[in-house]
Assembly symmetry: C2
Homo-oligomer: 678 residues x 2
């Protein structure tokens, strides 16, 4: 405190220091390493640098700040206030000079590296540090005695005003820059993309001072659905979210059938590529429309996806991924022009693709790792991203393992007789009375349960249309708990179960959840075939998790995280009854929402996160389910509901799991039993 210069204390950072009298608050902030935004570089134009000085006694800091601690409001501030208004008590930090001891609050909207909160199933905080930002530069006019090009004059100012070096620009941007400098009278605003440190690239040019709309798109490109969030790169605010079906479904529901299509049909891979690129372009256009912006305002896109989708989106041959050794064309993170994959966004929009983990473990799994960060946690956490292909991660601070497992689309309601996607009219919740074997259910779009007053009236409007992924999981688990289904997955006969809701369907039985045929509606039932499809899917999932547990050397996990858009809707209890996930205290089973999508958003908004995941993937142990001999064994054991050999002691203490066998004397398969009967 012996320093005679005024003391400036910034809040909330708490950073403090003495500065020469007359130093602007913005300069003081920069000198002290305080994060204060500025687009115009201190020219008093952009208002991004607003701060709130705090006058009076600051006992905590031991200073008294008089009104004279800052220079009076000046002409620049008055002009801005008259034109656009300055909030009471705020000052432009590029104009206000420090004259005495003072406390300066930097509101979060004036911070470059502000934090934004994602409210998904779990709340997530993302530090803003996007690759794309806008900067304003004023350049000295051209001088024929020291001839320097427009771009070279701009480069000099980028260095002097913004400490930005080694910027590059394309010929197209140079053409725009030349025109913008003339129109803007030697002043321009540039959008710069610094995807990699040290290599900023000009991606947008506007004459004079401009606050450009800079948007980014975070995409989770799934085998079945494509989900995207359109985000304001300056504020981190999500402006629009949406999804479309992956149009490749018409070439094959699961990944391997698409790979086969590519292998068997000349030009097939290109068809698949065109289809998904077009869908992505349309989704971008729709979200832009919804947000009221132009697609040319989208400067960045981050995509996460499994390896097959990765290759198909990029136009790489997916066929090597169909067989061992599952050779990837590249596994590194990619920075590409978005136009390379035919996207019409801003002309210089940049595409970032997260690294792949292995031939079967993709950028989506990497995104889940980025979002859930098992490597930062003490409890041993199993993360299951349920989709057509399940991404499974297991780990804690000591080690992280990953695999993927081909669950197929059953969990997404496909291959299920009454299955449908999660939309109005779909049964999403179900309970079966263990005594009467009668079901009650809820459909999407109606609050009441089916046995509650008003339900009948409501469904008049929406109708009961089918059963969605989370509904089928609950249905099968409830059937098991209610004794409609035995441990082998066989649906009992009406006689054995004691309800007419079990009825013959071909050579097996089905359980009728809802019969709307009297009103011309559908019959929603769970057939033996549905049970088999769910068994295949859940066995694959469980076997993958078991394989990771073997590799880790454990029989139990501390936490289970259900990720995926779908995971958010799964009831942990029912998932565990089904034996999708290992036995674990139910309160330790949580949902992470679309963790892959969240990972994509993190990568979109924070460059350090990109470096973090690029580094992390090198340390993740990859387990290849397709070639592990034990996978088959785990798969077979996991066929039973919940499991043939694993005890599920914790679960059994909570829920009834009747010890039934509808196929007495034959422990395997109802199908054969039926045939024998027939």
């Amino acid at each position: 405190m012996s320093d005679q210069n005024p003391l400036v204390i910034f809040t909330p950072s708490g950073k403090r220091g003495h500065v020469a009298p007359g130093t602007t608050v913005l300069q003081a902030a920069r000198d002290l390493g305080v994060d204060v935004d500025s687009v115009c570089g201190g020219h008093g134009i952009c208002s991004k640098c607003m701060v709130r000085p705090s006058f009076g006694d600051h006992a905590k800091h031991g200073i008294h700040a008089g009104e004279a601690a800052l220079s009076p409001v000046n002409a620049v501030e008055r002009a801005y206030d008259a034109k656009r208004g300055i909030k009471p008590g705020h000052r432009m930090s590029c104009q206000a000079q420090v004259l005495g001891d003072v406390v300066i609050d930097v509101p979060s909207e004036s911070q470059v590296h502000k934090q934004v909160v994602r409210k998904a199933a779990t709340t997530r905080v993302i530090d803003m540090d996007p690759a794309t930002r806008a900067v304003y530069v004023e350049v000295p006019p051209a001088d024929m005695h020291t001839p320097t090009g427009d771009w070279e004059r701009v480069q000099t100012q980028l260095k002097e005003t913004w400490q930005i070096e080694s910027a590059t620009l394309s010929l197209a941007m140079l053409t725009q820059l030349q025109a913008a400098l003339i129109e803007g009278k030697d002043a321009v605003t540039l959008a710069l993309n610094t995807a990699r440190e040290g290599a900023p690239r000009v991606v947008g040019v506007w004459p004079g001072f401009h606050e450009p709309a800079l948007y980014g798109l975070a995409v989770d490109l799934g085998s079945t659905t494509v989900a995207a969030h359109l985000t304001d790169l300056a504020t981190g605010e999500v402006k629009a979210s949406g999804g479309v079906m992956n149009p490749q479904i018409r070439y094959g529901e699961d990944l391997m059938s698409r790979v086969s299509y590519a292998m068997m049909n000349p030009g097939g891979a290109a068809e698949l590529t065109d289809a998904v690129r077009e869908a992505l372009g349309q989704l971008a256009a729709e979200l832009a429309d919804e947000a009221g912006i132009a697609t040319s305002d989208i400067f960045e896109i981050v995509v996460v996806m499994n390896p097959v989708m990765h290759h198909l989106l990029l136009g790489l041959d997916p066929v090597p991924l169909g067989q061992a050794p599952f050779a990837l064309a590249t596994n590194s993170a990619l920075d590409l022009p978005a136009s390379d994959i035919g996207l019409r966004l801003a002309p210089e929009a940049q595409l970032y693709i997260l690294p792949l983990i292995a031939g079967h473990v993709g950028a989506d799994a990497a995104a889940v790792a980025l979002s859930e960060a098992p490597q930062k946690q003490d409890p041993l956490t199993l993360i299951v991203d349920v989709g057509t292909n399940a991404e499974i991660l297991l780990g804690n601070k000591t080690r992280v393992l990953a695999c993927s497992s081909p669950t197929g689309p059953a969990f997404e309601g496909a291959q299920i007789s009454s299955g449908q996607r999660a939309a109005n009219g779909a049964i999403e919740r179900i309970e079966i009375d263990p005594v009467t074997k009668e079901p009650r259910f809820r459909i999407i779009g109606v609050k009441q349960w089916s046995d509650e007053p008003g339900f009948a009236k409501k469904i008049g409007r929406t109708g009961v249309t089918g059963i969605c992924g989370s509904g089928i999981i609950e249905a099968v688990a409830e059937m098991r708990m209610a004794g409609v289904l035995d441990a082998n997955g066989l649906i009992g006969s009406p006689e054995a179960v004691g309800t007419s809701r079990c009825r013959a369907s071909g050579r097996t039985y089905e359980y009728v959840v809802y019969d709307g045929s009297a009103e011309g509606g559908p019959v929603v039932s769970v057939t033996q075939g549905d049970i088999r499809a769910i068994q295949l899917a859940k066995s694959a999932l469980y076997a993958g998790a078991r394989l990771l547990m073997d590799e880790f050397g454990t029989d139990t996990v501390d936490r289970v995280v259900l990720a995926g858009a779908f995971g958010a809707h799964i009831s942990p209890k029912h998932a565990m009854v089904l034996g999708m996930i290992p036995d674990c205290p139910l309160e330790h089973v949580t949902s992470a929402g679309n963790a892959a999508g969240t990972g994509a958003q993190i990568a979109l908004l924070n460059r350090a996160a990109r470096r973090e995941i690029e580094e992390l993937v090198h340390h993740i142990t990859k387990v290849e389910t397709a070639i592990e001999p034990k996978f088959q064994e785990h798969f077979v054991n996991a066929n039973a509901i919940p499991h043939a050999t694993d005890p599920f002691t914790g679960l059994r203490a909570l829920v009834p799991l009747p010890d039934l066998n509808f196929n007495a004397g034959d422990g395997d398969g109802g199908g054969r039993r039926r045939r024998r009967r027939g």
Copy 2:
């Protein structure tokens, strides 16, 4: 020599050192920094690394090399010899192991950085160090237990085999790489462009081992003509050369009229851009055709041109170059995808454009500086690149100055009544008898002079069609020496000169060089208008040179270099009589041929030369003729032939310059005189 390891001495480099017994000669060369080529990286496939061991006594080196100093010819070499042949006495340096003291000669064809000789007007030696080269890599097969992408496995091998780090590749190249690795069974040949140190880029991919044809195009893009050389990037050999007219001529013969066209017509600049790009593409296709290669074998193109052509080629607005302050959009050297300017060469072909010196002094002048290197010379050298726009450099080791001067197209035969481009039938040499005033001349395509036996017969085939640029210079100078023309540039009357070859033509006189009208041929004459056009052109040239001499602080120069395709054909004596160039001993006036084109070739074949000129342009003093007040004064004084005020003492001692004035009492202009007479 205490080292027990064998001593290897390489010639011609003289580099020597001890290596462990069993070291391959190639490795020994690398260890000792000896330049030995290799495409296959030591796999015994490419034969690029052939060397010639020298056995016996080497008194000079103090060693005796026995036959056993190298390992015997091995199976790889025998196989190669059987298939393609190995020259007697040669060994593959990647196979031959050093076992004892030996002297190894590296023939120039086995050196990467070999020297190639350009035989132009002057002989030039270029050290080969092109940006594009081919490398062969064998990668370990994909392994699912340590999953790494194709590209990552290639990158690892690039590092291990070639010490090449940080290579990048586009999505299109990645697609090709994936296919090539499959077809090549985990072996590929890559073409790499390392335009900038530390950033090699994959520009071509072939399965297995391949010796790709890698060609480069060096282009001198002039206002009037576009000249190009197609060169083998591995050997430096020029495979085809050619030129076309710049199609922009239809929009304006000189640069400023093209700038006007762009300014006055919406879309005009784009028309000019399209025209020149198309011509360049066609020229590339024609040269490729002539050389028997595909345009897709062209991996690099280097272009030099003046600032207006620069902006027009790149699609930048040329209008700012039409008026002070002559602001360039960029003045730096550019590395761009050749596809950015619409060229269809190899898909990843790279375009390099030399830096501009100033708003009026272009990359062509930079190329002349690179080729002629005045900054490395003791004598004060004036370099004049004669074209529609003249580039003028003056300098020596202490300093280099540059300017450009708008000479117009007169020196190229345009704006001359009987002018034509240099083609068969054009008068290129001329002499006028000072007594009889009778001319004798030579035409392009005929060896004999017009007064020699056989000439009449020869012209029956080719005809006398006009007069080309070098011809008009000689004609005017000879007219001046023979007393047909006075110092003011006025053609005398038949009476005053004493020959009927001077005859009235409108209000002035013309001098008839050839009258073919009796045989239905043309009359080739030099009119008063022609003289005025030549005076304007030569005055601009001389005034530019004078301005540089003023700035340098000198009245004389030690050497004059006439550059430009046209410069090679100019007779120094006649140029000096005309007063195009300052007085200087005639034997110190030399021609450099197309120095700008040579500069482009140097930049094409040697990366260090690019860095050299990028650095040099910062140290060249730019003189802007358009705004220097003294330019007008110099221009007016230079109007006289040879000059109104500069004495040309040296010249006058050698040639007669009759002291005539055909416009007695009026020192200026025959035109006015004629009008008075009329």
